[in-house]
């Protein structure tokens, strides 16, 4: 699906103008940590059911949302990614019983902490998507991509090499 196709998609709520196809719109790079049992299956279902969602996410499959260490999220932002989504099973459905419960507490503190430091709240988002919610997965990805597009690229955390020699 070429990226220009989906741009012409109707988005309800804020009726975005049919953005001119050739304008080089900012294409965010978003890392999505998907829990293997629910969200990854949900993404799979979204694909099988031909739901269309923006191609900006790079999926990393993890055993459980509890496996996500804040270190990975900060490493993603440090490596030049514009947004991070962590998606796991709904509380109660976790294959490992309490993985997402622990994760929920960690994410709650991390979200508030990054916001407090001055990073836009939309940068790092968390969601619950079960294996049967293909449409919900597509909608969440749509929302996350719209958010990141709205707030623009994420430059001030990105590591760059200064190639100036010495002093």
């Amino acid at each position: 699906m070429k990226s220009s196709d989906y741009q012409t998609m109707e988005t309800s709520g804020n009726k975005t103008l049919r953005s001119s196809v050739n304008q080089t719109a900012f294409e965010p790079k978003i890392v999505a940590f998907l829990c293997n049992w629910c969200s990854y299956a949900g993404a799979d279902l979204a694909g099988v059911s031909r739901f269309q969602y923006p191609p900006n996410i790079r999926v990393i499959r993890v055993p459980c949302s509890g496996r996500i260490n804040p270190l990975y999220i900060i490493k993603a932002l440090y490596s030049g990614v514009d947004g991070v989504l962590v998606s796991g099973c709904h509380p109660g459905d976790c294959h490992y019983i309490s993985g997402n419960y622990f994760a929920r507490r960690k994410f709650a503190l991390l979200k508030r902490f990054l916001e407090y430091l001055g990073i836009e709240p939309e940068r790092v988002q968390f969601s619950w998507v079960s294996a049967a919610e293909g449409a919900r997965f597509a909608q969440i990805i749509q929302k996350v991509t719209n958010d990141i597009k709205r707030i623009g690229p994420f430059t001030y955390f990105k590591k760059r090499i200064n190639t100036k020699e010495g002093v």
Binding site: G80, I161, T163, K164, E165, G166, V167
Partner: protein
């Protein structure tokens, strides 16, 4: 012109700004910044930024010649080609002037010269900066309680490592050129300078005598090198316990020169970078096999003392400590190197 024939000059304080402005036409002037708490040497655009009453800067002047992060070379990550713009011109004309360096820091630069320049193979990055920089040091009239330079063979008016030394005689400066390059530069601003009278010299001697009395000389270093040869002495078991193993004493020390070399690649460009490292860190000597010759803080503290007071005298026949007191002032647990040395000297 041999050293003793060099005449001392006088610069009135009201003509100081003119002196700096005329120098800044040809050279870039740096002086320790006391505003932002990094306290290292920054470029000064206007003379009034230069202060005299502050004692020593927080980061030593070593960070100008041997910066915390320095590119060794840059390469393209895909093709792995080095960007070798070999502009290895051996002659580096003077471009930078460091003003307000304290004599102990200037002394430490002469020690770093021994490591990076005198012992072959010489370090090209250090040489480039060292030859293109002139050091104007400012003698200390009011040393701090933590200063102990007189105990390590340095003086509040030591000229080692400096090109020109300024003595602050309250209303005027007495300027003593030390090296030949100093002569040329002073000649270029000769009109501003008067020549020093005997009463100026007398005042300078008086000020320096006072300053030396302030520094209490509470231990001697005469046979410390021999005493430290006793590697497994018992005092090593007692002096390391309170050390947290952080890097403050080594990063702020003007003579510490240990460094790490690491590669970084981000997208298409990569670089090999040299950064400061500290023997107090636990991973400093960890082998890939997991073996670590210095496993606990005892060995690391012993290495820091031995490197400065036993190994350096054997390799460079100089004690690698200038008595600036930074490691005493900024240690989170107030671990005082003078106490360590006194404890070692008192060992029978």
């Amino acid at each position: 012109m041999t050293k003793d024939k060099r005449t001392d000059f006088i610069l009135e304080k009201n003509r100081f700004e003119e002196f700096i402005r005329s120098l800044s036409e040809k050279y870039r002037i740096y002086s320790p910044s006391y505003t932002d708490t990094r306290g290292h040497f920054i470029e000064v655009d206007s003379p009034d930024k230069i202060k005299f009453n502050q004692t020593n800067s927080k980061l030593a002047v070593k960070s100008f010649f041997f910066p915390q992060v320095e590119n060794l070379f840059v390469f393209d990550a895909e093709t792995k080609e080095l960007s070798d713009k070999e502009n290895e011109t051996t002659a580096h004309p003077i471009q930078h002037i460091l003003f307000g360096v304290r004599p102990c820091d200037a002394f430490s630069i002469s020690l770093l010269d021994a490591v990076f320049m005198k012992i072959s193979p010489a370090d090209p990055y250090y040489i480039k900066k060292r030859h293109s920089t002139m050091i104007i040091s400012l003698a200390c009239n009011h040393p701090r309680q933590t200063c102990f330079c007189t105990s390590v063979g340095c003086q509040p008016d030591s000229e080692k490592g400096a090109d020109i030394i300024f003595f602050d005689l309250e209303d005027r400066f007495l300027i003593r050129p030390v090296t030949d390059t100093a002569e040329e530069i002073l000649n270029s601003v000769r009109t501003l300078l008067g020549s020093a009278t005997d009463c100026d010299q007398e005042k300078k001697k008086q000020l320096m005598l006072e300053s030396k009395n302030i520094i209490h000389k509470d231990f001697e270093f005469d046979d410390l090198v021999k005493k430290l040869d006793n590697f497994n002495a018992s005092y090593w078991n007692r002096i390391y316990e309170k050390c947290l193993g952080c890097g403050i004493c080594t990063y702020l020390c003007p003579t510490c020169h240990c460094f790490d070399i690491a590669d970084e690649v981000i997208e298409s460009n990569g670089r090999r970078v040299r950064t400061w490292d500290s023997c107090m860190f636990s991973l400093f000597t960890l082998h890939a096999s997991g073996h670590n010759p210095r496993p606990t803080q005892k060995e690391r503290m012993r290495q820091r003392i031995m490197h400065k007071f036993n190994y350096a005298p054997k390799n460079y026949d100089q004690i690698f400590c200038v008595g600036c007191g930074r490691c005493i002032m900024y240690c989170p647990v107030n671990l005082d190197i003078r106490q360590l040395i006194k404890g070692i000297m008192e060992e029978e």
